[in-house]
């Protein structure tokens, strides 16, 4: 699904907005930008010159949503390519872990966060709605030593989107961005 993270822009203004959004860091995990995180649903500049940006929250109750909205309005507004900037929240499509780009997953790993574990490719669908799906996910890969010899210590961590793991090989606790 990473291909959907950034569709071909229809206009030069939209292309510049996408570039700017890509440079805005996530407020809670600044190593990754908003486009790589997959939270930008769409960008459109209408005939009146207003920019409409759809923001897909990672978690419904994420307290960083307001910060992201304000930062998008400020930075896109400063580009001078749109007369107004409107940031709308949307859950359609829902943000899912699959929206993080390969580059984004690498950036998470380099800053000490295990990216969300993906289900085996043979598994049908991506609906994380049944307990057994969660139980069958492979353990997170340690971002420090690459080991899979890790255990989930707590599915709930310091923010809504993070879980706490421990690596049995390098003996490091680490955080994982949760799969949803």
């Amino acid at each position: 699904m990473s291909a959907t993270a950034r569709p071909a822009a229809a206009s030069d203004a939209e292309r510049r907005i996408w570039d700017e959004l890509a440079a805005i860091p996530d407020p809670e995990i600044p190593a990754i930008g908003l486009v790589d995180l997959g939270v930008i649903g769409s960008v459109a500049v209408d005939d009146d010159g207003a920019a409409w940006i759809e923001l897909l929250p990672t978690f419904v109750g994420c307290p960083a949503i307001g910060v992201m909205q304000a930062e998008i309005e400020r930075r896109v507004g400063a580009l001078g390519v749109a007369k107004a900037v409107e940031v709308r929240l949307s859950f359609d499509p829902p943000w899912t872990s699959e929206r993080i780009t390969p580059e984004g997953r690498e950036r998470l790993r380099r800053s000490g966060f295990a990216p969300p574990v993906m289900p085996p490719p043979t598994e049908a669908g991506s609906g994380l709605t049944e307990l057994d799906v969660l139980d069958t996910l492979p353990p997170a890969e340690c971002p420090y030593c690459g080991s899979r010899n890790t255990t989930l210590e707590n599915p709930f961590g310091p923010t809504l989107c993070r879980a706490i793991y421990h690596c049995a090989d390098c003996r490091q606790p680490f955080e994982q961005m949760k799969r949803v």
Binding site: V60, G61, E130, N154
Partner: protein, 257 residues
């Protein structure tokens, strides 16, 4: 907004009632569970309970926003500007948090009922509600897994933990039915597909899924269903919580936070 504009007055009223019950359930359980922040039995659980409570209050916020769009109201006013008697959460959420076993029992009952309800809401003909329910469901999977783990942990523990859990389940069982209490505009909701199944069907599905888990722990559970006033009854416990959760809104009128 265009989706809501297409609905006539009776459908809007019925949908508003449904959204209010959903939002109030999530807000109230979120506030009760946030009472454990700092005093949960172990540090990991402190983090988990707080995170779950934050999720629920976040879900409530999104649901109040959907409602406010429909009724042209202010989501903060709906959340915190009403008298205690105007809340429409299920009677299950009227009780104070009690001890840890009591909170764990309630969370299991609520999460399992909410899971059945969300699966149905994800098929609602009201597209914004269906999308939100689908998104919330993905988060609730973690809550369900956690509630299930605590139920089993306490059930397998020696007395008094297992006894307290069994007592709490028996005490809460009648009020847990009220998550599926009939809504005034329910016929309107099901006729238009805004609610994809009647509450009685959802209630039956929930009973089928939880009885085999709960009866070995709590003994035989009464064959009862929801009551017509299952979302109208308020208690002293809730009036106390209401004073707590509306404190900021009441002390500084028009405050934003």
């Amino acid at each position: 907004m265009t989706v809501a504009d297409a609905l006539d007055a009776p459908a809007r009223a019925a949908l508003a009632e449904l959204l209010l019950t959903l939002a109030d359930d999530e807000l109230v359980i979120g506030f009760w569970d946030s009472e454990w922040t700092g005093i949960a039995p172990v540090l990991e659980e402190d983090v988990a309970t707080s995170s779950i409570a934050q999720d629920e209050i976040g879900h409530a916020k999104a649901l109040y926003e959907l409602l406010a769009e429909l009724t042209d109201d202010d989501p903060d006013r709906i959340a915190f500007g009403r008298a205690a008697e105007e809340y429409r959460h299920a009677a299950l959420l009227n009780h104070a948090r009690g001890d840890w076993a009591f909170s764990a029992a309630r969370r299991y009952l609520y999460e399992t009922a909410d899971a059945v309800r969300l699966a149905s809401l994800a098929r609602s003909a009201h597209a914004p509600l269906a999308a939100l329910a689908g998104k919330i469901r993905r988060e609730e999977t973690y809550h369900l897994m956690h509630a299930d783990a605590w139920l089993r942990r306490l059930a397998d523990a020696p007395a008094p933990a297992s006894d307290r859990l069994a007592d709490a389940l028996r005490t809460l069982w009648p009020d847990a039915q009220e998550v599926f209490a009939p809504l005034e505009g329910e016929a309107e909701l099901t006729r238009r597909g805004l609610l994809s199944e009647p509450m009685t069907d959802l209630h039956a599905a929930w009973q089928r899924s939880v009885r085999p888990v709960l009866e070995p722990i709590a003994g035989s559970l009464e064959e009862i269903g929801p009551s017509p006033d299952g979302r109208q009854r308020r208690t002293e416990d809730f009036r106390w919580l209401h004073r707590e959760m509306t404190m900021v809104a009441r002390s500084v009128e028009g405050a934003t936070w």
